[in-house]
Symmetry: C2
Subunit: 402 residues, 2 copies
């Protein structure tokens, strides 16, 4: 009895694989500052709890496969708020989190054996989801020295083969914190247009961009370049996990101006009946009432980022890129094997009975050997905790050298 | 720009494709008795609402990819309650509804291009989910005259090819209402054992079996035949949509005695982070407190089934099989094209401003031409409504003949 190749190929999550060591450390009474997972510590808006507390006695039916009417309506208003014209209810399908949106987008554009281009380091689950769909990711490297911005056109084009069906990006980027400029997005769209590729645009961190690095949706850039909705090549994949601090609600959506794409998504949606109806009602309510929440969290995370940077600058022999958005940064450490270091932090190190949990970065790369001296930090802790966590990182690195 | 082959191949849901006609009929003031979708009309247990009403203010995190500890614990007790030994927390992974459990099971055992055997008529989304995974379903026909029970060993074995990786069943069955006997399950397990296939066992209707047709889990039968857990070839796919009348909660699970299978499922789970944590907390609570609910719904549906059968017997020129479980039956009608008839019911027929919505059965078959004179009825209405719906069916058939 042999499982399928994809069951063998799919990697364990690099973000979650240290979880058992963390549990063991906690059992020993060690306090862990968790910087390993993009799990905001901020309470969702009050309306969320009020909704649950007043929930009426009713049958809990499957919702519409495409999405609840009021949810789709609010999505329309939401996306139009980013300056995207022509967004109608018919352009959306509700999904179980951004993850399902990514899986479907890969499935909609690529057959088993086909290829999709990504820029490494990239969100590691892109690879897992592609493996599930039987699709191969082709990585193009980006560099910490360039704040992980895109390479030149030639570097991208030379990776396009007959099997290439799409380019997949996260903007703002996880794990790099990069926010792509409208010039970069224009470049990608033009390449896609020329080579008949789709652009899969994951904008789950759309509300997290800082300073002058203002987030622009790929869709906004495409409107100038491709006038005909039916020729649009962008699939937007999005989620409310981060924007409303509702990771556990598992609600996201796909959007496209191109209705042929949405028709395929709708059939994928029918195959699994529906996303959570209660979840959709909640997000519809929050979108109608709580958009101020987005500004608050943006402010909170900007200030956390600034503290992170200030503290990182105090640590010798490391380098990092200034996060322009999202709530991650990659740090190059003076260690040979960052996974070993991350394990050591949980098994052998403590400072006043406290330690930190980081994500080894090799899992964000496909090219073997890359990222082995890097870690990802998610700055999802309050300011005082974040300061203390960076202090621990400095002490740990000093101790590790010896 | 061309979408993938799977995006083209995946069919629109036969259960849902008449939805627009129903909306149009309702706009004209026609009342519709909906027998087309397996959506129970029964309120979930009170504890569900109490849980929501007392929900504490807290961060809503991703839950564990495998599932929340208390959910897995309750699943263990639940499954042991069916006489399955050795069920531990480590044997489960929580899923977004039974649908995700089915998709992953297909992906875990079959590569793109591989084959899985199903008995037609079968739950139509098996085909959609297989197409998404790039896998081909190979149908073996079952017959209304035999209450859709399994054919003989030879009929099954002759469909096994080098590409065959599994046999996929629903027990109790949707759309046929068949409950497989332990002899039938034994036959399947022995075939799987001999030909090195997995058995994917969808038991989402496990609490719906009537009279002497007592539901037995494939796992229970396997325990007698395969002693070594590591050699178990069954993947159980299950859901709480029907058992707790919580379709819209989207919570299910996979179970296997074979930990290699569960390890693969766990990595699929990590790729999409987690199922709904709130959903898992709710089901854990209901499993602990409300198992009596299962008995109540079984009783309710048995009585509905009996009414359905009594009423169907009054209608001339139709045939049907006595549903042994689930809440569906297939009916052979004296019409040439049941989809046309189902459309006509919504567009052209009414009796005192009322009509019914049925599912054309062709979508439950893969072999072209089969099921064209059949419809599926889901008896998910109160008794008086069900009686009235059957009265309408009789009148409609009489009118349609003319």
């Amino acid at each position: 009895m042999k499982l399928s190749k994809r069951a063998e190929l799919i990697p364990a999550s690099p973000i979650r694989k240290l979880a058992d060591l963390a549990v063991a450390a906690e059992k020993k009474g060690i306090k862990i500052y968790r910087l390993n997972i993009g799990q905001p510590d901020i309470l969702p808006p009050d309306s969320f709890f009020k909704f649950l507390h007043k929930f009426p006695k009713q049958v809990i039916p499957y919702s519409h496969s495409r999405g609840e009417l009021n949810f789709l309506n609010q999505l329309k208003i939401y996306i139009r708020g980013f300056g995207i014209k022509n967004a109608g209810k018919k352009n959306f399908v509700a999904t179980n989190g951004g993850s399902e949106a990514i899986l479907w987008s890969i499935m909609a554009v690529a057959n088993p054996g086909d290829e999709i281009i990504v820029f490494e380091p990239f969100y590691t689950n892109y690879n897992s989801l592609a493996i599930m769909a039987g699709v191969k990711l082709i990585p193009i490297r980006t560099y910490i020295e360039n704040s992980f911005h895109l390479p030149k056109r030639e570097e991208i084009v030379k990776k396009i083969s007959k099997k290439t069906k799409a380019i997949l990006i996260a903007n703002p980027n996880n794990p790099t914190g990069t926010v792509y400029t409208s010039k970069e997005l224009e470049l990608l769209i033009k390449i896609c247009q020329k080579h008949q590729l789709f652009l899969l645009s994951d904008e789950a961190y759309r509300y997290y961009s800082y300073d002058g690095h203002c987030f622009i949706s790929s869709l906004k850039v495409e409107e100038k370049l491709i006038k005909n909705d039916a020729k649009s090549l962008i699939i937007l994949m999005d989620s409310f996990s981060k924007n409303f601090s509702l990771c556990g609600l598992r609600l996201g959506f796909v959007f496209s101006r191109n209705l042929e794409i949405i028709q395929a998504m709708y059939k994928f949606a029918q195959a699994r009946l529906s996303a959570s109806g209660i979840g959709q009602q909640i997000i519809a309510l929050l979108l109608a009432k709580d958009q101020k929440f987005f500004k608050q969290i943006n402010k909170t995370f900007l200030s956390r980022r600034n503290i992170l940077i200030t503290e990182l600058k105090k640590i010798p022999d490391i380098s990092f890129s200034m996060p322009e958005g999202a709530f991650y940064t990659l740090i190059k450490l003076p260690v040979k094997d960052s996974e070993k270091f991350c394990r050591w932090l949980l098994t052998d190190f403590q400072d006043k009975k406290e330690t930190i949990m980081l994500t080894p970065a090799a899992g964000f790369y496909l090219t073997p050997g890359l990222g082995k001296d890097e870690v990802r930090v998610a700055y999802v802790l309050e300011e005082a905790k974040l300061k203390r966590a960076m202090e621990i990182l400095g002490k740990a690195l000093a101790a590790y050298k010896k």
